[in-house]
Symmetry: C2
Subunit: 147 residues, 2 copies
DNA sequence: TTGTTTTATTTGTCATGACAAATATTTAAA
DNA sequence: TTTAAATATTTGTCATGACAAATAAAACAA
């Protein structure tokens, strides 16, 4: 084989993402929380700015529009959020956090921190900074290309 | 919010992986190839070592056992591989590449290279090396933790 | 040899990627 | 104003994550 996939950055990132997902799922399960990592990400953006529209959430989270719709539907069933039509433009649906969301905020954030701590064991602050910088560049490269 | 998800390495890797997946899917579609990135990854390991068992492929690719079974089933339908029971231990299924696999080898490898080139635009060799090193450390941290 | 444990694979179910087509509403153009 | 184009969301379908339970065969123990 001319070419070593395991030294390819794209493939390493894809593999790492799978492992990270597995890790977070398990930590969440150990803590008996009723939420998934992806659901949490969306709630995170709502905690930062309650009432975002589906489109805004999709843009911020870089998720597919349709997938966001479905994740929101699940969050609605779990009673973490509700949907409300925008008064001025009824094409737009705004999403609002419900009280039950508050219950899960601290424990799920702790799960995330736990996962991050495992990930970063033995990696210095300066390495982390370098890593984030390079990851930023890569993300910009991809976004530029995807338009 | 006490805490900025967008500066979290775990989250950045997860997001990047989504964007990378989208990018590769599109490149593959532009080239009208009948394969997915995950299917390709499995074929890559077979090109390196034809006849691997499902379990070996799962271990090498770090994918879930059951998911590998299903990806192999699809590769079989596409006539890229076939399954053969191991003579000595009939619990084991070995997977062998078929001639049709050869047709796709070069074009799909090119797609992957194209995607990698987009990703790495403006990132120096030394940065790439540093990045791979840190990603290795992270992967080891996670694997250690998952057992 | 028979019963138990381990190992390899399959299958079931749910969540979320991907893309495309359908719907509804608003904006812009004729 | 009526029609066409653009925008926001939903829905459909497939592929692949996750985990758990089921099946089949081999290895080990009694």
């Amino acid at each position: 084989m001319e070419y070593n996939l395991d030294n390819t950055i794209n493939h390493r990132i894809a593999t790492l993402a799978i492992l990270l997902k597995r890790q977070v799922y398990r930590i969440i399960a150990e803590n008996n929380l009723e939420i998934t990592p992806e659901q949490w990400v969306i709630m995170y953006y709502l905690w930062k700015e309650n009432g975002l529209s589906i489109g805004e959430i999709a843009a911020k989270s870089k998720k597919d529009f349709g997938n966001v719709t479905r994740i929101i539907d699940k969050l609605e069933k779990l009673e973490y959020v509700n949907k409300r039509k925008n008064d001025k433009d009824s094409r737009i649906i705004n999403i609002y956090l419900l009280p039950k969301a508050e219950d899960i905020k601290e424990p799920i954030t702790k799960c995330w921190e736990k996962s991050t701590n495992i990930t970063l064991k033995g990696i210095s602050d300066s390495e982390q900074e370098i890593l984030l910088n390079i990851l930023n560049k890569i993300e910009n490269n991809i976004l530029e290309n995807l338009e």
